[in-house]
Amino acid sequence: MDWLFLAEVLLAGLGAGSLYALAGVAFVLIYKATRVINLAIGEILMLGGYVFFGAAAAWHLPAWIALPVAIVAGALVGAVVERLLIRPMLGESPISVFMVTIGLGSILAGAVQVIWGADPLRLPEFMPNTPIFIGDAYLAPKVAYGFVAAMLIIVAFALALRFTRSGVALQATAADQGAAYSVGINVSRVFSLSWIVACAIAAGAGVLVGAIGGISPTMGIFGLSVLVVVIVGGLDSMLGALVGGLLIGIVEAFSGTFLGGEYKFLITFSVLIVVLMLRPYGLFGRHEIERL
């Protein structure tokens, strides 16, 4: 057994997993605050990658401007989607809202294809590409920077959730909407802010994902892995998204390396089934019944 090789696979898995975790956090944020299962998260992520591409490649903006542009675009999409598609669905059955997000995903994928075409594209290089070694193990620089960026965002977000007033408002809304209203929290504003922040995070994650693997209109598939991540971690748990993301990243890396790429989904979904059999609410989820 070559330990160095194993370490490299593990590092690559952690790198990919950190991006799953980041997208998972975006998913969990929306679910926690509004109880909406947002299946369009993969497409919003894709949109972030494309907006970055448009800003950096077509308008020749430097990366440090293109990245905020992509994030702001994500935030705007979040605001518009919440206001026009999700809020009118308030009080409808969860399955209807769920279907709306599936439709939204298709619309976004179609729109991207109309604007930028169906071919996969490469994002302009914007991260330093000096090789990185951890001990003797080699790590692709993009993956390493992606990991660091994702972890920084997740930690900052977790701290904000725990230690700010807005974090308290979000947790209060998540726990008990009626009680949140009764203490003066503007619940519909919490809803809309959580969509805005989540979609901004997802768009940022899209830039990182696109920088590593390129962008294409089918990038929304990434959302499928994110769904596995959050179900494994527990739909409403930030910690679950983090642990689940890293776990699924590692599992995919090892199964891709040792069994071949075609087994990746087989293994991840097997992990999903096993976790659901042992812990139906995910590793860190709350014990609540949600029917879909």
Binding site: A172, G178, S182
Partner: protein, 269 residues
């Protein structure tokens, strides 16, 4: 009129899910600075009335179908629930409804959202801890681990932080030991006297409610049946018998006589 009455409920009807009528033409006023007790049996519609007054009905698919509710002379119908709180009407809901995953202190922080846009100074939690020293000891602990009595104290503490002019209190005695009930009601009376907060108090425990209230209403199946100052209510034969459990002579009544209940309860339609 409007200057004296903080809350005016006028001929209100409430329907749930567009089909189930719960309140049938109910009117009630809460004068400034007073504690008004609203008594009645299970399912009479007491909690519904409070939710109608705090605009929290919509969350449970209920709606006021006729009549008006005015707070400080202003119709509350167009106000979102959080805006009503920010104008000084605080609803302490039935079952306490504290945020169990948050600490005691964070529960109080959540309540500071009620102060948004009112130009009030940042609140000190010391006021809450002065009334409820037990909460101070446990301020960093999760609210879910508090005892039932402490959770009720926290629920009332959250109301204090919001600096309301009117508190709607829904069954603060629910599930508490008699000694704790007494303690909490003593503090409720003190808050009313010291902070000048008016209260609309819903209770099943009539004796303790009438002990702190200035005025009382008694409702059954969606309608008011008796109303008046507390002194008058406690002299009323029916109230004594059916709500305070006292016989005609003032002594405790034997269960043997309860058979006459239905026949004697003359206000029942």
């Amino acid at each position: 009129m409007a200057a004296q009455n903080l809350l005016e409920i006028d001929n209100v009807e409430v329907v749930y899910s567009r089909t189930i009528q719960v309140l049938r033409g109910l009117s009630l006023v809460v004068p400034k600075g007073r504690i008004v007790a609203l008594l009645g049996s299970n399912g009479a519609g007491k909690s519904t009335l409070l939710k109608a007054a705090s605009n929290l009905l919509a969350i449970e698919d209920g709606a006021v179908t006729s009549g008006t509710i005015r707070f400080q002379g202003q119709d509350i119908a167009p106000l979102a629930p959080h805006m009503l709180v920010r104008q000084g009407l605080f609803h302490v809901m039935e079952g306490r409804r504290i945020f169990e995953d948050l600490t005691v202190e964070e529960n109080l922080i959540a309540s500071t959202f009620a102060l948004a846009g009112r130009g009030l100074p940042a609140p000190s939690f010391d006021l809450v801890y002065a009334y409820f020293p037990a909460l101070h000891e446990r301020r960093r602990g999760l609210a879910g681990y508090l005892s039932g009595g402490e959770q009720q104290m926290l629920a009332i503490g959250r109301a204090l932080i919001a600096q309301p002019s009117l508190i709607l209190l829904d069954e603060p005695s629910l599930g508490l030991a008699p000694k704790l009930v007494e303690e909490i009601f003593t503090i409720i009376a003190r808050i009313n006297a010291e902070q000048g907060v008016s209260m609309l108090l819903v209770e099943q425990n009539a004796a303790v409610a009438l002990a702190v209230a200035h005025e009382g209403y008694i409702m059954e199946t969606g309608k008011l049946v008796i109303e008046g100052p507390v002194e008058k209510l406690v002299r009323d034969q029916d109230v004594r018998e059916f709500y305070l459990g006292l016989g005609g002579a003032g002594g405790a009544k034997s269960y043997r006589d309860v058979k006459h209940y239905k026949r004697r309860k003359r206000w029942l339609s």
